[in-house]
Structure formats: C-alpha cells, structure tokens
Symmetry: C2
C-alpha cells in the first residue's frame, strides 16, 4: 500500500488522522523555519508542512525535493493556520513525519501548471508531461465520461456493442485507405477501416437489431489543421426503423450526454431542410446560436443601375445588430477579410442604419435613401444595425455570406461556447456532380437510400433526388451524420450505376454486401458521431487534439515516439516489399 | 414505426392488443385450413396464424413466404389453442390481418437453426447468416455484456478508459508487427500495436493513476488454430501499487463479471508459485478443477535396475482415480497418445492398483509388489486407481505429464465447463535462456520488474531472478497476465543490457520511455486480459472464434469479404512500394 488517501481526499473532518500519501511535488515554498510542499496526484493537491525546528533533517530533505519528484509521505492531518478556500483540501495540511523519494525528476522542459510556458512543439514531444496539467487531465476525463455515458445509455435501450474487424479490404473509391501488407498472403494487403459501414449493415442483416461501437477509423488524407489520420466514431445502426426512429433515438443519446456531463438540458432538436440551411446560413451545418440569417436582396438591389449587382446571379446580405458604429478602418479590415483567398469575395458593400433613421452606404452613388430603406426593411434591420452585402454566383456568395456571418458572430460575441443549439439537417441531395469530370458523387456514401418519393428521378434527374440522410449539427459543428440505408439489391445496383461503378467494380468491392441483400436484409439505418469532435464541443473548445491522449501532428507524425519510422531490411524482405525512390 | 412490439415480447396478458411486428420467417406450417408462421427477431419468436376460410387471399400470401423472408405484419394478439411452454410467447399467437413483404430471401445455403446443417467453410463465407443463429446471437450478446460490465466495474472504482494510438512505431524485437506504409512520410511505416504497453506506462507517468482500455491488438504470427491476427485485450494499469493491490483489483473485476454474467460467485483466488505449478501440474497455467497432481518418483523408482528410469533425470507420475479397469487396448491407445510428436514421450509405464491390493504393471519385470506399493503410497493411490508414469529430461517429462493429466481429466470428465476454478500464478522467472543462441529472453516483456529481493542476482545469475509478474489462470486457461513494471531508468537499462539490446537499439526503440522515466515516473503495474478468451471461457466453450463477430481463418483471411486482396497499381504507386516476386 503506497497510500492510505489520495491528494484530493482529506478534509478538516479528518483532523488527527495518520495518513500516507503519494504523488508529485507541484510546488515548494520556504517561509522562515517552515517548508510547504504542494503534493499533487490525479485527485487534487494536499499541502505538506515541515518545521525546521521540530525535525531539521526531514525539513532539509523536503527542501531538496525538486518539482515533479515522486514522493511518498507519512504524517498527521492538521488544521491549517491560513486556509485556502480555493481547493477542497484547503483547510488542512499534513504534518509530515517521513518522506520516501520514489523517483527523482529532472526539471521538466516546461512548467506543469494550468497555464504553461511551453510551446506547442515541445509539449507534443513531451506529451506525457503535458498530460499532467489539469486542463488536459480534465479533457481526458471528460472523454472517458462521454464514452461511459454513451455506452450506458445505448446499452439501456437494447443496443449491443459489437466489434468489427480492423484488417479489412481496400476499396479504392472514396477517401484513401491505409493499407497493411499481408505476409501470409503474398502480394495482398488488408486495409484499415474508414468506418465499419458495411460491417454494421451486415450485422443488421444478421438480425442484431441495434448495434453500436465506439471505434477507431482511419483515413489517409492530406491533413488539414485539426484532422487526425486515426479518429474515433460512435458508430450505430438499427433495423426496422424509419428516419424519425433514428433521429429520436440519437436525440435522446445527445440529450443524455449533455445532461449527465454538462448538466445542460437540451430542448427538442429542430429539423431544418438542407436547402433552407444553405439559403439562410450559407452552410449545411448552421450555427443557430444567433440569427443574422442571410437575406436575398435580388428584388431590391438589382436593376438600379449598379453594374456589379446587376451582372450577379445573386445579391444577399446579413444584418449585424448594433454594428452601425463600425469605423472606416473596421469596415476596410472586414472588406480585406472577405477578399482573402479562403473566402474569395470580390468586395463588400455595407449600409449603416444610423440611429437618426438615415443610411450611410458604400454604394450611395447608386442607391438613394429610399432604396437603402427597402434593403433595411428586407433585412428587418433597425437603427444602429450594419448591413453587409455580397454578390456573385449564388452558391459562392451564399458560402461567403455564411463565413462572414460566423465571423460577425464571433466579433459580436454571439457564439458562447457554453450555450448549445442542436438541430437536425435533413433532406440532403443524394448525389452531387463533380464539375471536372461530370460524374455523380454520393453526398453521404453509396449506401444511403433516396427519399422514396424521389426514387423515380434517379435516372432522369439525379441531382433533384433527396437522400434519406441527416446530420446532427450543434453550434455550427457537424457532430454526426447518417441515413436510412438501401436494403434492396436492385436499388443498390442502380445507385452504383449512377455513381459510375462498373458491375465488376461493384461486385469486386461490395459483392458480399450485394449478396447479403438477397438473403433477407431488413430495412435499416444509422448514424455515426465524431467522438473526438463531440468531446471537444462538450468541453467547450474547438480543438480536438487536446481530447486525444496521443495525437499526431499535421504531417501525421507522432513526435513523441517518432513514428512513422524506417523498417528494418528484414521486415521489408519478409513482406516482399521494396521501396521505390521518390 | 415498423413495429409496436418485438417478437419476444407479447404474453397472454396482451390478449386483444392490436400489434405490428417485423422479423424473419423462421418456419411455416400448413395444417388443414390454417397456416402458422414462426416470426423471428433478436428478441424471440412469435407465432402468426392465418385462416384460409377467414381470409383466403392473405393466407395464400402467407403460404408464399419462404424461409428468411423479412415481413411486417399487423394483427390481434389471441390465445393459442395448443400452448408451447418452451418459449415465453408460447401462450399467444397473432391473428394476422395484413402482411407486408419488406424483403424476399433466397433459400439460405444452410439452415438457420440452433443446430445447422452447414459446414465450417460455408458458414464462414456467409457469416452474416450464421450470426442469425441463436447460439451465435447468444455468444455475441455475452461478449457485449462482458464489455459493459467490465467498463461499469472499472469506472466505478476510478479507472479512466483512455484510447491509445493504433498507428505507432515498429519494434522488431518480440512478435512480428503488422506495418502500415506512410504516404506522407516517404519510406516510413507505422506499426499496429501488439499491445498498448508503452503507452499505458506513459499514461501512468502522466499521472492518470488508473487506466483501462478494451482495445484491439495485432500480431503477425503464423496462426495456430484459434489464434487471430487481431484480438482484443482488456488492458489496465495502475500507479502507486504493489502486486497485491493489482491482484486484488482484478480479482474483484473477475468476480464481478462471473457474478453478473454467469451468476457464479467465485471464491478467493489462491496464489501458486510458478515453480509449484510446473512441479505439480507440468504447466504454468494449471487446471485446478481436479487434483491428479504430478508426483516425483525418483526416490522410489530409480536404482532398482530398470535402465530407462535409472538413466533419466526425472521419473514422475499421475494417479488416475478409479481407472484400474483400463483395458489393454485403452492402455495401448494411451501409450500411442503420449508418443505422438505433439507430446513426445518415449513410452508410458502403468501400474494398476487392483481392488484386491495387488498391483499389475508394465514393468513387473523390474519392480516387485513391494516396490510398486511404495509407488502407490508416494502417489496416495487407492485400490482401483491407475498410475501413469513417464521419465526423461525433467522439463520435458513434467510437460508431458501435464498434458497427460489434462487428457485423463477429459476422459474422466473432471473438467466441467460450468465449474470455474481461478488462481493467480506468481513468481515467474524474469528471463529464460534461448537454448539455440544462449541469449536471455524476457518471460513476460522487457518492462517487467524483478522481485526487489532478487535484483542483485541480475548480473550474476539472471536465470534465478524471479519477476514481479503474475498470471490469472482459470480452468487451465491463461485469462490474463501482468506485472509490476520497472519505473527506474537505470534498472530498465540493466534489463535491456541483459536482453542483449545495444544502447542504440534500446534508445531507438524505447528512448521516449527511458526519457520519460527521468521526469518523475511513479511505481506502477498492471494487467492485460485476453478478452476473446475470457468471453469463450465464460461462455463455457474453448473456441474463441464464435465470440468474434467477423473472425479470420487460419490463413488470416476473411473469407466473407475476401480480404486481404490485391491493391490497385495506383495505390502502390502512391505509397512508392513495389512487390518483389516470391
């Protein structure tokens, strides 16, 4: 027994108790004849007290302990003279009678404090030290709790967690697979799963009825910031369900998680059509914590002689409440912001709705006060508001306005990370056209079913077919997505045809699923949540990396263990692999 | 809503209820003017009734339904005339008013019954159909429950489940890694983890105190029967613990699982020294459901003129209770059994302890009745027992006797799969000598600490050093194993030296861990349970394959999806890999 209590456990009620603690030296202070040490473990901090007059040798030993030394102490719980109300153990300290140094520590390369002095790179290299800091301890604990609560909820409503294999078959369509050479099957490779999609569908065909799995998935994509080559999903599937059954089930899960972990009771999740999301928010994952929706101004802004608008497919704007006081400098900066390549607008038109009822605009030359008044009315603007207007190709302008809306939401502090606004986005298009090739591409994946009432359009007007698909969006973050799947072989074949698979390709890659459809496949559907992203959202931060114990950097490297790395020549030989020069 | 109830739900109390069910056609029977169909889902069977006189058209439709058709029906719950007491829904049936065929089914390639007519190969190919059968449904559910209960127990006592990465670094020592070429880091490879060993140790250094994970692990070994290239572990680690803390914690988990899932209350787990296990059971994972321990007969059997024994290092035997009536034929067969190459004995000596107090032996020529009596006394044999004696090199003979003991246990039906006898085997040797090379090899792994009192022998007599390691053994199955780890850099270095790592190799492969030891590593230890094996044991069967939803065959192939498979040329090109001809 290394300890009788943890460092977060002892209280004033324990006064007089003999205790044994073990932990890390957080901090040490010498005050005259006394030395105080904060001893830390996962559970908290406890103050240790040493008196030079009472036990000189022990006190000297305590003074020799550096930061992050691992020690075990014995002593008596006593009441503190100056209490610390900020920590739960703040009313007591330990009058130490013995110290054992369990392990010494070199001075860590950055401070193990809530706010550290270490930069990103050094903290990634010494990730095991960064993880000692409270903010990261809290995030990893939150992730654990999300896992526990997810399993508890889904188990209670009859879901089985069933493991699907990691060494599966490569399917060259879609995102790029990570592959694994098979030594025992010469020249052949396994692939790591991008998701357990086909396996969970097979489990439905097996009659498991309700399946889930918290599972690692792998995608060999060029990494953008905050993407990881391996990531975790809450993967779920249900049989004999329609869309509403699935939405209600996972709305229930989401509410449960926020209630148990954040103590937040979420309201009923509204449903929003994909088309409405794009029209009003310029994006398929709208942040509905704030209004500022996009208004179509074609009727009031075109054909008034302003060539830029007249030649545009679309003119639209957002109304930034109370921002009429934006300075020239601020407006110029905003114009530069929308003109950055990431946004790509050509320019920005503004209209200040002055408190006196007049308007000041960057296009005063073309639009008189009455004209601008009709804009303001179209956008429900009040005196003091600022109208921001973009024009151009409709898809592009909506996207730009969507970005501008989020930016203004940030500036106006309308995006409180402790407020949670969920919604379901529904009725996505089934397929979208890849402009370069003219091919149809599945918006979700090839197993998503069309809305039954649109199925007849699959051959004549594929772009108009709505999918029986849905995304869960919270605060502008796509937390999860799913669909009612195809369970009929002929419809699946039609879908593969539409996506340009030859029958051979379809059979080669998904023959086992197509065959399975012939032996009694039930109607089924499901959802997958991004677990890393959900944890980050629930934790109130944007970055997923802090919620992953050992993340990789943007080059897919683990800089702590230095992976990936070269193989030994014998390993390559055994696999019958040779590397081509780059 | 496809259904208002499941097929396992309705009871006589629901008589008169209008219900909607969905499921698979299990069986169909036509009796005069009536047709009965058993409708199946995960939850059970419900009988559907159709009356030709009442609704001819509907009844005809019902008669057209083949096995495994997926249907939805509506109807009224009515009391059955002839009740079936064997199933929970056996008192009712559904008077069906409407049928919808949700999906047709081809005749399955084998019967979907508790006992099927399908062979192993066809059932593996159509695994999704095999999984519909109750025995497999039950096993997958048991696995789910073991997972749920493991997480619940460990969470309740303060463990966090923390995910460790799957794309890690290859370490050529030990078993063979599966590797994953990195496209973004040219010529470099990740490895899939054989276990999260080093990561869980880093988590202890990070202060997480109690970690667990139910996690997939990967080993590219030549597969023996019932080995899988990917397998699942319950992986655990704790800080500030000694051996007893770890054993008590996981004894608690094991008891919890058996209590919750099998309704079996396990007794306190005895501890047995490795040396005693070998001496008495000939194996380090003794099945202690039955006695029949190995007795050393050197004193009573050597130097009596029987050259075979006199020239042997060791003579030992087991006493098979009540088997003196073995026939000549049975004894010959047993002799052939021990002489098979898998066992490798040269011969088998028997002594029948006759009911009349006399002895009949295959070595009567060399041993008189008095001599054989001393054998019987040494082995606590009673009249009616059969002594089976082997000799030779001690290690080999003990191993052979251990195998023979298990075989006799099977023949005497002493190994009831519904009786569970756990124990901890402790005090393993730290290292063993590889005869071919003369090198020392870690018995557990290089991170296992020596017993502190033996540490001084590491340089002078490594073979005598006991490890602070332990295995959980139940019914002769090694369910789990673990150790108190090394947490001191110098001791770890000494261990690497002993194992023949050059400092460069040690640093290259495990430098991050050695470095981490310098920044305040706490004492720690842990355990890993084989999850697949544990589930099989708890389910009362030997084969792990049935407890894995989608297992691979002995060549590491998934014959259902046909993986591994060839890659497209572009995939190899992107990875800058070319395959050498075999």
């Amino acid at each position: 027994m290394y300890r009788s209590h943890t460092c977060g456990q002892l209280r004033i009620e324990d006064k007089g108790t003999q205790t044994k603690l073990a932990g890390w030296v957080q901090k040490s202070r010498d005050l005259g004849g006394m030395t105080f040490i904060d001893l830390r473990d996962r559970y908290g901090l406890t103050q240790l007290a040493f008196n030079m007059e009472v036990n000189k040798e022990l006190c000297a030993k305590a003074r020799g302990l550096g930061r992050e030394f691992v020690v075990q102490i014995e002593g008596e719980v006593v009441e503190r003279e100056s209490k610390n109300k900020k920590i739960p153990t703040g009313e007591i300290e330990i009058n130490v009678s013995a110290i054992t140094i369990l392990n010494a520590a070199k001075t860590p390369p950055f401070t193990i404090e809530n706010k550290t002095d270490g930069g990103e790179d050094i903290r990634m290299k010494y990730r095991y030290l960064d993880l000692r800091r409270n903010p990261l301890q809290d995030k990893i604990r939150l992730r654990h709790q999300v896992g526990i609560q997810t399993r508890s909820y889904l188990n209670d409503i009859g879901f089985y967690e069933i493991e699907t294999p990691y060494l599966i078959k490569s399917t060259p369509e879609g995102a790029r697979d990570f592959v694994v050479p098979s030594r025992m099957n010469e020249n052949e490779f396994y692939a790591l799963p991008q998701s357990p999609q086909t396996f969970k569908q097979l489990l439905m065909i097996s009659g498991f009825d309700k399946y889930f799995q918290i599972v690692k998935c792998f995608r060999d994509e060029d990494l953008r910031a905050d993407r990881q080559p391996e990531f975790t999903q809450i993967d779920c599937e249900m049989s004999f369900v329609d869309r509403e059954d699935v939405l209600n089930t996972f709305e229930g899960l989401t509410k449960h998680l926020f209630s148990k972990i954040r103590n937040v009771e979420l309201p009923i999740f509204p449903r929003m059509d994909y088309d409405d999301a794009i029209e009003n928010y310029g994006i398929d994952k709208p942040d509905v914590r704030f209004e500022m929706t996009i208004k179509n101004l074609n009727d009031v802004a075109q054909n008034k002689g302003f060539q830029v608008f007249d030649s545009s497919e679309f003119v639209g704007g957002i109304c930034a409440t109370g921002s009429a006081n934006y300075t020239r400098k601020q407006l110029d900066a905003l114009t530069e912001w929308v003109k950055r390549p990431q946004i790509g607008a050509k320019g920005l038109v503004y209209v200040k709705c002055n408190e006196d009822g007049t308007f000041k605009s960057s296009v005063d030359k073309f639009f008189d006060q009455d004209a601008l008044k009709t804009w303001a009315e179209s956008m429900n603007a009040k005196p003091g508001d600022l109208l921001l207007v973009l024009s151009g190709n409709k898809d592009a302008a909506l996207k730009q306005l969507g970005e501008l809306r989020l930016e203004m939401g940030n500036r106006l502090e309308l995006r409180d990370s402790n407020v949670f606004k969920p919604l379901w986005v529904v009725n996505f298009p089934l397929v979208e056209k890849v402009e370069e090739t003219g091919h149809w591409h599945a918006m979700h994946h090839p197993f998503t079913s069309p809305n039954p009432e649109d199925e007849h359009l699959m051959e004549t007007d594929p772009g108009a077919v709505r999918a029986n698909a849905y995304d869960l969006v919270i605060n502008g973050v796509e937390v999860g997505g799913g669909s009612i799947r195809i369970h009929d072989k002929n419809l699946q074949q039609k879908m593969f045809d539409l996506l340009g698979f030859t029958p051979e390709e379809a059979n080669d890659q998904f023959g086992f699923l197509m065959n399975a459809f012939e032996y009694g496949a039930p109607p089924h559907g499901g959802v997958a949540f991004g677990f890393d992203r959900l944890c980050a959202l629930m934790g109130g931060t944007d970055s997923i990396r802090d919620y992953i114990a050992f993340p990789k950097n943007n080059s897919g490297r683990d800089v702590m263990i230095d992976a990936p790395s070269l193989l030994a020549a014998e390993q390559l030989d055994e696999l019958k692999i040779s590397m081509l020069k780059g």
